[in-house]
C-alpha cells in the first residue's frame, strides 16, 4: 500500500495550540514538508517571532531561536553572516514584519541578505487580541480601529511584497494563500523555491502567505477561508512579484 499521508519528519509530534482554522498550522506543516523533501532538517535554523507563532519551536524539529519583536531579519542577518553554511528562515507575522520590524526587513532585503522569510499576513495582530495590523483592510473593524480602518487616519494596508520587490537585493518574492487545496499546493512550491534561492546564494527571498485568523476576524473557519479569496486577495493579489531566475532567462 502506498503511504499518502504522514507527519513530516521535521514536524514534532505535538498538538498545535493554534485556534481551529488558523493558517499558521498549515504554514508550519508546509515548511516542514519542504525542509524534509530538500533534506535540510539538520542544516536549518528557524527564527520565530513574538506573535501567535511564538511557540513555533514546539513544532519544528529543527534548530529554532526566538527573536525580539520585529527583529527577525536582523537576527537572521547576523546568523547568516557569521555562519553562511546554515539555512536560515524567519517566520514573521504582519505586525512583526510590516510594523515594528519594517526597517529591519527592508534593510536586510536591500542588502540582499541570503535569508528566507516566511511572512504570515492575517491582517491583524493575532496574539495580542486582534488589534489593527499594518495590513488590515480599509473599513475593517479591529479592537484599535473600533470604527473601521480609515485610510485618512491609519493609512492603507501596506503591501510588503510589492514594496520589497523594488529592492535590488531581493531574489524572489511571491504572495500565496493557504485557504484552498490548490492554493496550499502553490504555497508549498513557493516555499521550496524560496529555500532554493538561499541554497543558490541568490539573495533575499520571501513568501507572503495570506492566512486566515477566524478568531479575530470573528468568522467560522469556512467563512474565513472564503474571506481570504473574496476580500483579502483583492487588496493583496496573489502571484510572483520578483524572481531573479526568470529575469536571467529573459536576457
Amino acid at each position: 500500500m502506498k503511504l499518502i499521508y504522514s507527519r513530516p519528519k521535521s514536524l514534532k509530534k505535538a498538538v498545535f495550540h493554534y485556534c481551529p482554522g488558523c493558517g499558521h498550522s498549515v504554514a508550519h506543516r508546509l515548511i516542514c514538508e519542504v525542509i524534509d523533501e530538500m533534506g535540510l532538517q539538520e542544516k536549518t535554523l528557524g527564527i520565530p517571532p513574538p506573535g501567535c507563532s511564538v511557540f513555533a519551536y514546539n513544532y519544528f524539529d529543527v534548530d529554532m531561536a526566538e527573536s525580539a519583536h520585529g527583529r527577525g531579519a536582523a537576527v537572521a542577518t547576523g546568523v547568516k553572516r557569521a555562519y553562511p553554511e546554515i539555512v536560515v528562515f524567519t517566520y514573521q507575522g504582519d505586525g512583526d514584519l510590516a510594523g515594528i520590524g519594517t526597517a529591519e526587513t527592508i534593510h536586510a532585503a536591500n542588502r540582499g541578505e541570503n535569508i528566507t522569510t516566511i511572512f504570515i499576513n492575517n491582517a491583524v495582530y493575532g496574539m495580542t487580541g486582534g488589534q489593527m495590523a499594518p495590513t488590515t483592510l480599509c473599513g475593517m473593524k479591529t479592537t484599535t480601529t473600533p470604527y473601521g480602518r480609515d485610510h485618512l487616519l491609519e493609512g492603507h494596508p501596506i503591501k510588503m511584497s510589492e514594496i520589497l520587490a523594488l529592492l535590488e537585493g531581493v531574489a524572489y518574492i511571491e504572495r500565496v494563500a493557504v485557504n484552498s487545496p490548490s492554493n496550499i499546493r502553490k504555497t508549498k512550491k513557493a516555499i521550496a523555491k524560496a529555500f532554493q534561492m538561499q541554497l543558490d546564494k541568490r539573495g533575499f527571498s520571501m513568501v507572503e502567505i495570506l492566512s486566515p485568523c477566524p478568531t479575530n476576524w470573528k468568522m467560522s473557519s469556512v467563512q474565513a477561508w472564503k474571506w481570504v479569496d473574496e476580500e483579502m486577495a483583492k487588496v493583496f493579489p496573489l502571484g510572483v512579484f520578483k524572481d531573479v531566475t526568470e529575469k536571467k532567462d529573459a536576457d
Binding site: G95, G99, I100, T128, T144, P146, D150
Partner: protein, 350 residues
C-alpha cells in the same frame, strides 16, 4: 472596570488628549480604550504606532507642543521606549508612561511581575536622570495615580512612570473617578507652537560644551531634590506596635497586607510599609519606622530590587530579610503569611 481601562478613563479626565501605543499583553485594554475614545475626535489624537520606539517619540512630539500625552506598554516594550524617555527627561518635557509589568528577562511571560523596578527608578535609559515612579496597588489607585501623574508631570516638567503589573491591568474592581480637569487646559509655557510674537525657541539636548551640559544636569538634580522633599508618599498599616514590618509595593503590597491580617489574627505584631512613590523612595518614612522596629522583610515579585533602596535608607540600622518570587509567579497571601510567621519566630520576636 478593569485596571487598564481605568487608567484610560482617568487619563482622559485628567485632560490627556493624545495617546500613542503599540499592542502588547497585558495592557491592550488601555490602548483599545484610548482608540475608542480618542480616535476621530476633534482635538484628540490616537495613533497605533509601528513600534514602541515610534510611540514614545510621538509622545515627545505631542509634549513639545504642550499636549498632555501618554503612552503605555509592558516590559519588553518599555525597554524600547527608554531612548525616548531619556530625551524627554533631558528636554524637561512632561509625559506619562504606563508600564504594566510582566515577567522577564526577554519576552518572558505575560503574567504579572515587578522586575522592572530598577529600570524604572534609576532612569532606565542612558544619561544621568530620574523619572517620578508611582506604584499603584488597586484599580482605584491606578485611576487616582494616573490623575496625579499628569499633574506631577506638568508641575515638574518630567516624565512620570506608572509602574503597574499584569494582574492590576487585567482585574476588575469597583472604581470611582474623583475629579475632572477643566475642558480647556491652559497652554503650557514653553510649548513650541510657533514663534508668533516671540523669538524662536530651541529644544535640544546636544551640546559640544561639557560645562553647559553639566549645568543642565545640576539643574535637573536640583529639581529632583525638590520633588523628593515635596512629593514622596507611602502608606503604613499597623506599624506603631509592630515588631516586624513588611515593605512591599504594588500588587505585592496588597498580597502582603492580606498575609499580615492573617498573622495579626494570630497575635503576631506585624505591620506594612508600602511606598507609593517608588522614586522618590520614602527613605525618611522607612527611617522613622526603624526607630520603633528592628526587623524588616522586603517582599517583591522579583529577585530583590527595592530591597537596595530599603537598605540604603536604613544605612545599617535594623535587619532586613527578603522574600521574592520572580518570573510572573503570583504568590498567594497564605504563602507570604507562612514566610512572615516563620521569620517572626526565627528571630524570637514572639
Amino acid at each position: 472596570m478593569d485596571g487598564n481601562s481605568a487608567i484610560g478613563e482617568a487619563a482622559i479626565r485628567a485632560g490627556c488628549r493624545c495617546y500613542f501605543g503599540y499592542p502588547i499583553t497585558p495592557q491592550n485594554e488601555l490602548t483599545e480604550y484610548m482608540a475608542m475614545h480618542l480616535s476621530r475626535k476633534k482635538g484628540c489624537a490616537f495613533v497605533q504606532a509601528e513600534s514602541e520606539l515610534a510611540a514614545i517619540n510621538m509622545v515627545y512630539g505631542a509634549s513639545l507642543v504642550g499636549a498632555r500625552a501618554m503612552t503605555s506598554s509592558s516590559s519588553p516594550g518599555i525597554s524600547l521606549k527608554q531612548e525616548g524617555i531619556s530625551y524627554l527627561a533631558a528636554c524637561e518635557l512632561p509625559a506619562v508612561i504606563v508600564n504594566m509589568q510582566r515577567g522577564g528577562p526577554g519576552l518572558g511571560s505575560i503574567s504579572a511581575a515587578q522586575s522592572d523596578y530598577f529600570q524604572a527608578t534609576r532612569g532606565g535609559g542612558h544619561g544621568d536622570y530620574r523619572t517620578i515612579v508611582l506604584g499603584p496597588s488597586s484599580v482605584q489607585e491606578l485611576a487616582d495615580l494616573t490623575m496625579r501623574a499628569f499633574e506631577l508631570a506638568d508641575k515638574y516638567k518630567i516624565p512620570v512612570i506608572i509602574l503597574g503589573d499584569g494582574v492590576l491591568g487585567q482585574m476588575m474592581e469597583p472604581v470611582e473617578f474623583k475629579k475632572e480637569a477643566p475642558a480647556e487646559l491652559p497652554i503650557r509655557e514653553n510649548s513650541l507652537r510657533g514663534a508668533t510674537g516671540r523669538p524662536s525657541k530651541i529644544v535640544k539636548t546636544f551640546t559640544s560644551n561639557p560645562s553647559e551640559l553639566e549645568e543642565i544636569n545640576w539643574s535637573l538634580f536640583r529639581r529632583y531634590t525638590l520633588i523628593k522633599k515635596q512629593e514622596t508618599t507611602c502608606e503604613t498599616f499597623m506599624v506603631d506596635d509592630a515588631r516586624l514590618v513588611v515593605i512591599a509595593f504594588g500588587i505585592a503590597a496588597r498580597i502582603a497586607k492580606g498575609a499580615i491580617k492573617t498573622a495579626r489574627a494570630e497575635g503576631l505584631k506585624i505591620g506594612l510599609l508600602r511606598p507609593i512613590t517608588l522614586w522618590p523612595f520614602p527613605e525618611e518614612q522607612v527611617k522613622e519606622v526603624a526607630k520603633t522596629t528592628g526587623q524588616f522583610l522586603v517582599f517583591e515579585m522579583n529577585m530583590g530590587q527595592m530591597i537596595e533602596d530599603v537598605q540604603l535608607a536604613l544605612a545599617g540600622q535594623g535587619e532586613v530579610a527578603f522574600y521574592g518570587r520572580p518570573g510572573g509567579v503570583i504568590p498567594a497571601p497564605s504563602e507570604v503569611a507562612r514566610v512572615i510567621t516563620r521569620l517572626y519566630y526565627q528571630k524570637g520576636l514572639k
